[in-house]
Symmetry: C2
DNA sequence: TCAACTTATTTGTCTGACAAATAGTATAAA
DNA sequence: TTTATACTATTTGTCAGACAAATAAGTTGA
């Protein structure tokens, strides 16, 4: 009884690579990312195709049975996937109707998954613009709050990530420290509603870094701007912190414009 | 064959009110809100108990079979409910471990459902404070953006809801117009990432109105403040719009403090 | 013309089974 | 005694098939 391995009935599932024999007639039409659970993969696949505009708002998705056939999965797996999409307000389901794509303004765009799917959307440029504008709304005021409310521990994290930026040996490490810096400021606001926006800001930054190649001079100047923010927060000067962040953002804009004038 | 009504096997489900006969031994320990689907109700029940701190971050929830027994539902229903909670980053599930409650900073607090559950949490006061602070971050800058980018149609909606506030016959209708006014401003930013924050702001406002009883004098002054915002946006004066919103928020703070000095 | 009924389709729910992952325990080896 | 290995038990993950409930659309009757 070492290995039970009944191995019957369960259809032997996918074995994604070695799909040599087309079995009966159920050759999966859509292939899933092997990583993770099946329902997660299905949710990602459907979610991406929705936010990328493959299914228009208000239109009806294929029914669960169709998805199940296409993915070579069970209806249960598809249903759990769709429940995930419902939770993120991408679709609503009703009996006899099916699952309808919600209007874009209902989507939980600030959700980490939705945002990452959306960032692969056709209109990357517009998305990037919205993200940068979003930073202008959030970050200056967040820095001001951080200057007022930060704890010693939170300040230490801000200072450390700022110093890590300056001393990072590789560009990749510098980038990571940069993200940590901005997240640390958000956390230092001690406002539980602002912290979740960190995921959005982080996404914005990561998208940014893809676009940008900086010169040594750029990097040095950007570091100065970061140092100014760190100092203003440390000295508990909200107005100065706000202004310093605005300067950094303006610099980001300038660098973006220089690197991709199309925007 | 008019009505099939096999009526066997399916356990005849809940019949929530008239649960007279304890059947066999499966008397549901937890009663669900009758409204809506079973999985939604379960998600709400579990979600609420998580955000209200009944299950601490990092702890393991009862397993699916236990929930199913407690709710008198099937494991499928429980699983779909938990998928919803996973999508909102309240829990993560792994085989053999179970579903673990995520740390609070992972929660999608800006999600409409999570926010509404959370607003019933024990620390209402702190939550209210965070919300009001959040408005200080978002709304002034949003108004400035709206002043710059609004379309005629969007401006019409802002003006209409502002006028509706002034002429509303009942307090309830005034409140609704008030919410519409702030949502309209967010929409008029034409920033797709700011619009989802509307749900959060709306929740803040609704929580606010519960706390507050206004005098006629208060209402009149508040109306003036709203009119100022409307005018600044209409005349495309971003700085004036920003300042006008800040004044309104300061007034909100004052009224809150007057009505419940405990805060 | 319009209302009531019927039908077909789709999601919602239940049941029961097996697969996969893995923490904890027991066992064997060094 | 300590460490590595194998086993076991538990829990989520997935599958299959059935029936319930809701309802859009078509059909019939007044």
């Amino acid at each position: 009884m070492a290995t039970k391995s009944k191995d019957v009935g369960q259809s032997s599932s996918a074995t994604p690579e070695t799909m040599l024999a087309p079995q009966t007639q159920t050759a999966p039409a859509l292939v899933l990312r092997a990583r993770g659970n099946i329902h997660s993969s299905i949710a990602e696949a459907i979610g991406k195709s929705i936010v990328c505009g493959e299914y228009k708002s208000g239109s009806i998705l294929p029914n669960e049975a169709k998805w199940a056939k296409d993915f070579g999965a069970s209806r249960s797996a598809v249903r759990e996937a769709i429940k995930i999409l419902m939770a993120k307000n991408l679709v609503v389901s009703r009996p006899k109707i099916g699952s309808r794509v919600e209007p874009k303004e209902h989507w939980s765009l600030l959700d980490h998954d939705v945002l990452s799917w959306y960032s692969r959307s056709p209109d990357r440029a517009g998305f990037q613009k919205s993200l940068q504008q979003f930073r202008y709304v959030i970050e200056p005021e967040a820095a001001a709050l951080a200057a007022t409310f930060h704890t010693d521990e939170q300040m230490a994290e801000i200072s450390k990530s700022c110093k890590d930026m300056a001393t990072a040996p590789t560009l990749s490490e510098r980038t990571q420290a940069d993200v940590r810096f901005h997240m640390a400021i958000l956390k230092a606001t001690n406002n539980e509603l602002l912290v979740p926006l960190g995921a959005t800001i982080a996404s914005a930054l990561n998208n940014l870094f893809v676009f940008i190649t900086r010169t040594a001079h750029d990097l040095h100047y950007a570091q100065d701007l970061h140092n100014n923010i760190e100092r203003a927060i440390r000295l508990r000067r909200p107005a100065a912190a706000r202004t310093a962040v605005q300067k950094l953002l303006a610099n980001s804009d300038a660098v973006i414009k220089k690197n991709s004038p199309a925007l």
